[in-house]
Amino acid sequence: MPNMSPKKVQIPEQDPQIRRKNFDEVALGYTLEQAMEEATRCLQCKTKPCVDGCPVNVPIPEFIKAVEDGNIDEAYSIITKENALPAICGRVCPQESQCEGRCVRAKKGESVGIGRLERFVADYIMSKGNIEPKNIEKNGIKVAVVGAGPAGLTCAGELAKKGYEVTVFEALHELGGVLLYGIPEFRLPKSLVAKEVQSIIDMGVEINKNVIVGRSITVDELFEEGYKAIFVGSGAGLPKFMNLEGENLNGVYSANEFLTRVNLMKAYDFPNNPTPVKTGKRVAVVGGGNVAMDAARTAVRLGAEEVYIVYRRGEEELPARLEEIHHAKEEGVIFKLLNNPTKIIGDEKGWVTGMECVQMELGEPDDSGRRRPRVKENSEFILPVETVVIAIGQSPNPLIRQTTPGLSVESWGGIIVQEETMETSKEYVYAGGDAVTGAATVILAMGAGKTAAEAIHKKVLELQG
């Protein structure tokens, strides 16, 4: 008899007043008992709408059944057949709009806590110690993967499982891409990223750090070195700015810079770590997505007294996950909705002192389906802040398209691919993740990496005759 409680088993979380002052993870995760209880809420429906909502097709009811039975090893092996990074996905996937959004239970009450269960299974197995790497027979075919983020790592892992000799080329000095430099510790502990990345390396994937494909070596040179196919998962690149007056004043950051200083270079621990970050008493974050929430909550933890989210649309239009918005509010982030910056103001030394904004109101829906904001007349006001973080997205990095003849890109820079295979206009070159879609989610990038791996396998086999 399934547990018909309309609510998910609560997940223990750090108290907002305490977590405002630390970078430890906010949600603490289920115990075995809590997980088994939540698992009994799954109806085990035959139609499995949740699986259709998952970009990597994790067999969700099956793994939940194993949790219900207390067979966590089995649950882990069911998940990892389809998803190599469950501890990460369990934490950062937008479950409410994917698997959980389609859960039958969500029609009356809350959906099954699929993300929380996935996270529990991964954490439980990792806490038990080493996961035995499987012995895979190599097929001697070399494939190169550009970028050690979610798209590249997934593609590398899938190909390694099939026996390919995979080399991942990464520009930074650590592995994980946006999981590392973008997503803060309090949402995704870096030690977990390291463990899940290691599980992919353990499949026999070779890693080549500090190599920028497009600069250190080109795509064509990789082919010359004997790689039969190349997957480009180079991620989103250049941060977007608003072209506001005063945007280059001291104290204005792109979200990427702000988060990279803190997450990758550990600026929160300055001077124990030598890379600094400057946070004033009052911080305005411009934008309403997950990255904006991450930046705002990071600013809170760095000691800012007032942190604002400045977003030109309303609450309902905020693109961030509900959970992140909720957490941000709990931590004291102030939401200035229906406000848009028009100018950044500085003192005589060039440091930010405020941001001029206008109020907005919503008109008819635009092409994106969201109601178009327009300026309310005579509504200018100045928000006094010392730091401004611009979190309005990125455009793809130009380095690969500049040095890869034959690679077609969209006018905004995204690499053009065939959706079913992720193959680009250049034969044997595949791409996926933010390099193709612009800033999107971790799980979509993983889905693309997986699709590409399947397609590469098929095409290279054909080549072998």
């Binding site: 000095h173 280059n248 001291n250 792109s254 990427n256 270079m265 030598p274 600094p276």
Partner: protein
């Protein structure tokens, strides 16, 4: 890990290091830079490439000890390694086959200037160079420059070598004497490059500068290195580091460079030869 195969102290604050880095050595061109981390707790420091040897797969960097992370680097010995060394970054300099070019190198700025001047020399361009520094011992790469220039001038603050004064004093003299240059390439502290442009802009002499703003990843991701060039925002790491000096907003660069002054931040391309060596 990237092994230090040679090192040489050029003066009390400036050191040359030759580092084994196959990917960079194979591809780098004059004008490009690298980012290194000396050890696992260091910053990512951008440094310009002073020289390279494709056969030996080595890259030469010249840097000044200005903060925590360059000090860690300085303490490394031949045979030790740096943990990360990535590049080549930035766009190679577009060297044109002019008739006559003037190079101006201030302090450690002489280091990135050298490969450009050598290449111009190889291209058959006639080159004069002015090197500036605080004193005689702050002049670097004198012999190297001598081999590839027609006229080599010096300016030092204390007059211990060449003219007592600034590189701009010599520039003014050369122009007053009727020397005509198709292009000036100025690399050094921002105040020096700004002063050079102050002279060349009214005369409309094409002037290339190499900017060294704060940066983290060096691939365009962080946007920390943004500079205003001709009213457009550019990222020094992917659009530069060379820019048309006549269009650069130097005051903004100077201001942004001081952003981490209190923190003794040293995350720059490493051209800062102190404030007084222009």
């Amino acid at each position: 890990m990237y092994k230090i195969v040679d090192k040489k102290q050029l003066n009390e604050a400036v050191e040359l290091m030759v580092i084994k880095a196959p990917y960079v050595a194979r591809k780098c061109e004059p004008g490009q830079f690298i980012i290194l981390r000396a050890d696992n707790n260091s910053e990512r420091i951008p440094l310009t490439i002073a020289d390279y040897n494709r056969e030996e797969e080595t890259v030469t960097i010249i840097y000044q000890v200005v903060g925590y992370s360059t000090k860690v680097l300085y303490e490394k010995q031949v045979g030790d390694s740096v943990v990360d060394f990535v590049g080549p970054l930035g766009k190679p300099t577009e060297l044109k086959k002019h008739k006559k070019v003037l190079g101006i190198g201030g302090g450690v700025g002489a280091a990135p200037l050298y490969p450009q001047i050598r290449k111009l020399h190889e291209m058959g361009v006639e080159v004069d160079v002015i090197l500036g520094g605080r004193s005689d011992e702050y002049i670097i790469l004198e012999e190297e420059f001598k081999a590839v220039t027609k006229n080599l001038y010096f300016a030092t603050n204390d007059g211990s070598k060449g003219k007592e004064g600034f590189v701009t004093d010599i520039l003014n003299e050369l122009i007053a004497n009727g020397e005509e240059y198709d292009e000036v390439i100025a690399i050094g502290p921002l105040v020096m490059m700004k002063a050079v442009v102050g002279i060349t802009k009214p005369l409309n002499i094409q002037t290339a500068v190499s900017l060294n703003p704060v940066m983290i990843d060096g691939t365009g991701m962080c946007g920390g290195c943004r500079v205003t060039v001709g009213n457009e925002i550019k990222f020094a790491c992917v659009d530069g580091p060379d820019f048309d000096g006549l269009l650069v907003d130097f005051d903004e660069c100077l201001r942004r460079q001081n952003m981490y002054k209190e923190e003794e931040h040293s995350c720059r391309i490493g051209l800062e030869g102190g404030q007084n060596n222009a």
